[in-house]
Amino acid sequence: MEVEALGQHISRSFNEDLERVRNSVLNMGGMVEEQLDRALKALKDADSELGLQVAADDVKINQMEVSIDEECSRILATRAPHAGDLRLIIATIKTITDLERIGDEAEKIGALAARLATVERPSTNYRELRNLARHVKLMVQGALDAFARLDVQQALEVVKADEEVDQEYEAIYRQSITFMMEDPRTIKRVMDLTWSARALERIGDHAKNICEYVIFMAHGKDIRHSGLDNIEAEVAQAVETGDR
């Protein structure tokens, strides 16, 4: 697979450059995952201190994005990569943008968690939101794993999971509306809850984007904005023609 193909350049330092870029994307991914994790923990445990800290720590992720971006520009300028290498660089530049956005959404959840921690909590302790959060976390994890392994199958699974997440968000949204109609005093709290759910749903979309870049990186096929069935057919065709 491509992972091995990466190790086949005459210039050793070129290999190392590419490998380093790939590794730093995944490092950044790890930081984003931790941020999301902590934001959700803050939400669950009503830990306003942790929530605010998450919001403050987003700076690190932004810095990481800038430095990887610069590294990619440098490689493009000095090495003029083509074929698979070029795809890796392009996919990297796009992936880090999405990762940075996930970081921003985590920051948002952290800030909302800090606010929600100060008000009364429903007896379910936001169970439906935690469910959604678990799915989204798995999606982010799956997307990064797929990036690391260039695993198209896993990428497709994450793309598919996004539909479910969208439905869950929709359900929370509707439920929130009924809550607000029943008891207008809860509006502020429920709005914050809806915003958190919205942030999670957006994170799911970003994870899905990353998976699309993984498929692009592996097969050179751009599958954005095509239906899921088309994507699967395209990928199957790409695998068949041995375009790997």
Partner: protein
């Protein structure tokens, strides 16, 4: 020379002699000789062909070879069977190793110098989701991405670290990396979810119990206070009541320390970086002990005026506990000296006393909770048995270290070293001209 070589040479000599004889009787000696050599060459070539077949394609050795060649073939056969036996042995050994590592509950992952995965056991698949089909050669940090793990991977020193499990939402894993051989590293990953849960349950229990005990104790203390001041109290009750009061006060102190200790233990994050004026704090602590009855002389040497970045109450309890400890174990004639000085690596607070000292075997244990060097004595002197445990945990939260030197009957030196990152220049009052 072995027999077979002699017979081979003899056979060659005889053949040569026979050819020469033929040449002598029929003429054309040269042609006869050439013919005989050609025959010999053909035979050698044929045997070489067989040898090639045997070595490269693993064909069986034909039984009709004779003489020296038969010996050589037999030798090869022997070597082959020997290596087959060795191979089988290695194979068996390998299988056993594989089976035993496969049966392990802990994940074992072998990494090279680039932190790329070389091998892992089935438990690694179960615990962290590595896939044997795709993940060999993958950098482990790409799959186990937790930032704490990443920094540990770069600098694997000290104790195992804890990371949340990537497979299970509530799972906790302990990771330890052990270098071995030439640039190889072994990562051992253990599922510690249950241990972490137990630990949490325990500290929750201690915290809850302490909180619950505090209010009844306050009530008891209040009544004892009132009783002690009651003028109608009969003489015979005065001593018991004041003793009860003292003990109630001690219990309150123990509970306070227990709550403080649990709080320090459960706070996973580092202490905040707030500006703390150490000079002022040390002067206050000094003032608390100076001039008290039965207390040794105290001298505080402030060799620098730097301040610390940390948590004020925690730093206070570090310094207070250390000084209090020194005072408690030093007779009133002795002396206690404290230093606050700047070093290259950071800043140091040390306390030297001329007290009873601690034997060497006890030193590693004295920061344990409720550990007492001399049980009878320290209880009388009003300690809770938790002071040094609190000091240790509070220091850890400031990335600082505690070292202890001691000599029995001569005294002890307790030294805290704070790293550079925690040192702050002292704030000075700024006068603004109007």
């Amino acid at each position: 020379m072995p027999n077979r070589w002699i017979s081979q040479l003899l056979f060659l000599g005889a053949g040569l002699a026979f050819t020469l004889l033929l040449g002598a009787s029929f003429g054309n000696t040269g042609w006869w000789l050439a013919g005989a050599l050609a025959l010999y060459l053909a035979n050698t070539l044929r045997n070489l062909y067989i040898l090639d077949n045997v070595l490269r394609r693993g064909k069986p050795i034909p039984p009709e070879t004779r003489g020296l060649w038969a010996e050589i073939f037999a030798g090869i056969e022997k070597l082959k069977s020997k290596s087959r036996a060795r191979k089988r042995r290695y194979h068996d050994l390998l299988r056993e190793v594989r089976e035993s590592t496969g049966a392990l509950h802990d994940a074992g992952i072998i990494l090279n110098s680039e932190s790329e995965i070389q091998w892992f056991n089935p438990a690694a698949t179960r615990l962290v989701g590595l896939d044997p089909a795709t993940d060999i050669g993958q950098r482990i940090g790409n799959l186990l991405r937790h930032p704490d793990f990443m920094s540990y991977l770069e600098n694997p020193q000290g104790e195992a670290i804890m990371i949340p499990s990537p497979k299970d939402d509530r799972g906790q894993l302990a990771v330890q990396i052990i270098p071995y051989g030439k640039d190889q590293r072994l990562a051992i990953i253990r599922d510690v979810t249950r241990e972490v849960l137990l630990q949490r349950t325990r500290s929750d229990f201690v915290a809850n119990a302490s909180h619950e005990l505090r209010s009844p104790l306050t009530v008891i203390g209040g009544y004892l206070d009132a009783l002690a001041e009651d003028e109608d109290l009969s003489e015979s009750w005065q001593a018991p009541i004041s003793e009860m009061e003292r003990q109630a006060e001690r219990m309150t102190r123990i509970l306070r320390d227990l709550i403080e200790l649990t709080r320090l233990e459960s706070a996973a994050r580092d202490a905040p970086h707030e500006f703390v004026d150490v000079i002022k704090m040390l002067k206050l602590i000094e003032g608390e002990f100076i001039g008290k009855k039965g207390v040794p002389t105290i001298r505080v040497h402030l060799e620098t005026d730097v301040a610390l970045l940390g948590s004020e109450p925690e730093l206070h309890s570090i310094f207070y506990n250390l000084v209090h400890n020194a005072v408690r174990f030093t007779p009133s004639g002795g002396e206690v000296e404290c230093w606050w000085k700047l070093r290259d690596e950071g800043v140091v607070f040390s306390v030297r006393d001329t007290g009873i000292g601690i034997s060497e075997g006890m030193i590693p244990r004295i920061t344990e909770r409720f550990f007492r060097v001399d049980p009878g004595r320290s209880r009388d002197s009003g300690g809770t048995g938790l002071g040094l445990a609190i000091v240790k945990h509070a220091l850890q939260r400031h990335e600082a270290t505690l070292s202890i030197e001691s000599q029995i009957d001569e005294g002890s030196v307790f030294t805290c070293e704070f790293p550079k990152e925690r040192v702050a220049a002292r704030r000075r009052a700024v006068h603004v001209a109007i």
